[in-house]
């Protein structure tokens, strides 16, 4: 360990004691896209003890421009991102215990996962999941770090239960999506800047240097040369349902969660059945081939060509319908195949 981590041990903020802490800590990362790839690589190289990665998606060609853990080979194999990330991270640092979970980060899953987690990193692409992370963070008193980007614009904020305002204080409701995700595109430097802010915050928390944790809300635009750091002293909302006195953790109620979602930045709808199953993908592939569909697959998922649409079915019953943003249409396509 001495040689491997020597340069960050030399850094006064970490030191030998800090490195020992980092090596014992457990980080939960929700999402393994652009922000997830970068944060995971930083933490793996830094020698975090355990890293649990949850992601519902698989690697596509359009990811390679910015999602640094993935390769053309992963695209060709349609590997789930969590599995592809684990493969690459284990090659980088075999001392880190990486756990890959292929699935949607539902409130129930989050509550199952957080018990021995020290910090949660937000690397998701939607506010529904972020609000669930926020409620779990408050309920179990685990800090988390919000990060997001679109175009050349990005932002980050560290949320410490009992100390800082929470995401629900700032937003009060789930913002409507689509305005930026589908139209803004994304450049890699914006991703990297958010990763730098998030991963520096995680390192501070892992070495328990709480005084160093940023209390302001950072946002920047790398193309337009803007950088702001907002003071958050007035942001805590007394009536907040996630962190106020009368808290109810509204985003942990599974019934409140949508079952179909348009995925950010893509012509794709995710359909999530209300009860998760364990599909026999092999049998399904056989049936669909018989019906004349072109079907490709691996142990994790099936990809079915359906005219202008492509449906990717995961073995927990979840599906991604590519080629549409119409929720109802997507649900209908899903039910045509899976009942």
């Amino acid at each position: 360990m001495d040689e491997r981590y020597s340069r960050q041990v030399l850094f006064p903020g970490i030191g030998k004691a800090g490195q020992e802490k980092i090596c014992k800590k457990h980080v939960l990362m929700i999402g393994a896209g652009a922000l997830g790839s970068g944060n995971a690589e930083v933490l793996t190289r830094a020698g975090v003890g355990r890293l649990t990665i949850v992601d519902r998606d698989y690697v596509e060609a359009s990811n390679l421009q910015r999602q640094q853990l993935y390769t053309e080979e992963d695209v060709a194999e349609k590997l789930p991102k969590a599995a592809a990330a684990k493969k690459r991270l284990s090659a980088i640092n075999s001392d880190v215990e990486v756990k890959a979970i292929i699935g949607d980060a539902t409130p129930a899953m989050l509550e199952d996962l957080v018990h021995d987690v020290d910090v949660i990193i937000d690397a998701t692409d939607n506010f529904e999941t972020r609000m669930a992370i926020n409620d779990v963070s408050q309920k179990y008193k685990i800090p988390w770090i919000y990060g997001a980007c679109v175009g050349s614009y990005g932002m980050s904020f560290s949320i410490i239960p009992g100390k800082t305002p929470c995401l629900n204080c700032l937003l009060r409701t789930i913002p409507m999506q689509g305005l930026t995700c589908d139209t803004g595109g994304i450049i890699s430097p914006a991703v990297q800047m958010v990763i730098s802010h998030q991963s520096a915050e995680v390192l501070k928390m892992l070495v328990e240097d709480w005084d160093a944790v940023r209390t302001s809300f950072v946002s920047f635009d790398l193309w337009r040369n803007q950088y702001t750091s907002l003071k958050m002293g007035k942001a805590k909302f007394a009536g907040c349902l996630s962190c106020g006195e009368e808290r109810t953790y509204p985003y942990l109620d599974q019934e409140n969660m949508t079952k179909t979602t348009v995925l950010c930045g893509r012509d794709t709808v995710q359909v999530r059945p209300s009860t998760q199953g364990d599909l026999s993908l092999e049998r399904l592939a056989g049936q669909l081939s018989t019906l004349g569909y072109t079907v490709k697959g691996n142990p994790y998922l099936l990809s079915v060509e359906m005219g202008s649409l492509r449906m990717v079915i995961f073995n927990d019953g979840r599906a991604l319908i590519h080629g549409t943003k119409d929720l109802t249409h997507a649900k209908s396509i899903y039910q045509r195949i899976l009942g």
Binding site: G33, A148, C149, G154, T180, I186, C264
Partner: protein, 77 residues
């Protein structure tokens, strides 16, 4: 007078990095409604607002000389 700054897609929608206008005496919430109407902006109710680089709630009253910034939270990642 007040300087009103816009970030991300709001800046594109307004077409300017900032506007100079008199919002003194209005609340942040009132200014949001007024701007959304006159610049054909998307709804601003979930947009975060800073007054002089400090997070402000919708009921905060704007003073003369305050600099207001509208910062839309984004979801990409």
């Amino acid at each position: 007078m007040n300087k009103i700054l816009f970030f991300a897609h709001l800046r594109d929608a307004v077409g300017e990095e900032y506007l100079k206008l008199n919002a003194t005496g209005k609340t942040v919430g009132e200014l949001k409604v007024e701007l959304a109407g006159s610049y054909n902006l998307p709804k601003l109710d979930t947009v975060m607002t800073a007054v002089n680089e400090e997070f402000a709630q919708d009921d905060e009253v704007i003073q003369d000389g305050d600099e207001i910034a509208f910062i839309p939270p984004v979801s990409g990642g």
